[in-house]
Symmetry: C2
């Protein structure tokens, strides 16, 4: 399975800090919302709503509709973000101190999380040649990684 | 709605040419497959499987499962390709003489189809800086177009 490493420092240290931020924004920390957040803190990679609903990280299952509702609201509050790594469902994670952009290998499924600065030259080329301000935080770059690209060329 | 223009010359001129290619490859041109192809020839943009199933371009509805099955097989035969332009379903089109890569504006939903050569500099930068051989034919570049990016910066 394709998983994205969570290699960025989180914006919130623990559940209490998120709870405080959610409360400041007028949001409640219902039991379902608490379980969603616990799952996100427990996971060491980005997770799907289905995994959270199944209780994969907390041992407690929740209604899938409730998971999606809470993820959406937490995203509006700036606590959660999601990324689409391919044909599958979106993957969710806690917002970190620094944004990450993603590259997905269509050969081996490897996911690379990159500091946005590493894509600045590509972004400048896209801006100059096509007039687009590209960002790869939500929909990543697809292609072949440096292991798979040479193998493809040899075929 | 987000639509991608079909601005490339097609590899097959008409249904008879596709039928011939499908037959050479050992495939049959069942009624469902014929309707799928007729829809693709009639559409002036990429279309979803749902639109084909609803008979949007032919006036004849087909089972959605049959549409997906036929699209998959036609894709294996090199007649059809698909692209994911965002959160929605994949969009299908006939394979053209030249591949196109796509950019999607997350502001206004505009889709730009680009000749791959126009992304060569971006591709070179991604190769040099991250070791990936990027392609934007199946999963496009997301960002803000030249109308929306300045508006975003002003906010």
């Amino acid at each position: 399975m394709t998983v994205a490493p969570r290699n960025e420092p989180l914006r919130f240290r623990d559940l209490a800090e998120v709870a405080e931020a959610v409360r400041r924004d007028g949001g409640r920390l219902s039991m379902a919302r608490r379980l969603v957040l616990e799952a996100l803190f427990a996971a060491d990679a980005l997770v799907s709503a289905e995994q959270i609903a199944a209780g994969a990280h907390t041992g407690t299952a929740i209604e899938i509709a409730s998971v999606y509702r809470n993820l959406e609201r937490l995203e509006e509050l700036g606590v959660v973000r999601h990324v689409h790594l391919g044909h599958g469902p979106g993957l969710y994670g806690l917002v970190g101190d620094g944004e990450r952009e993603y590259l997905v290998c269509e050969g081996c499924g490897r996911v690379t999380a990159a500091d946005p600065a590493r894509l600045d030259r590509a972004r400048a080329a896209i801006r100059a040649d096509l007039g687009y301000e590209a960002r790869f935080t939500h929909f990543p770059i697809h292609g072949l990684c440096d292991d798979c690209a040479p193998a493809e060329r040899r075929r």
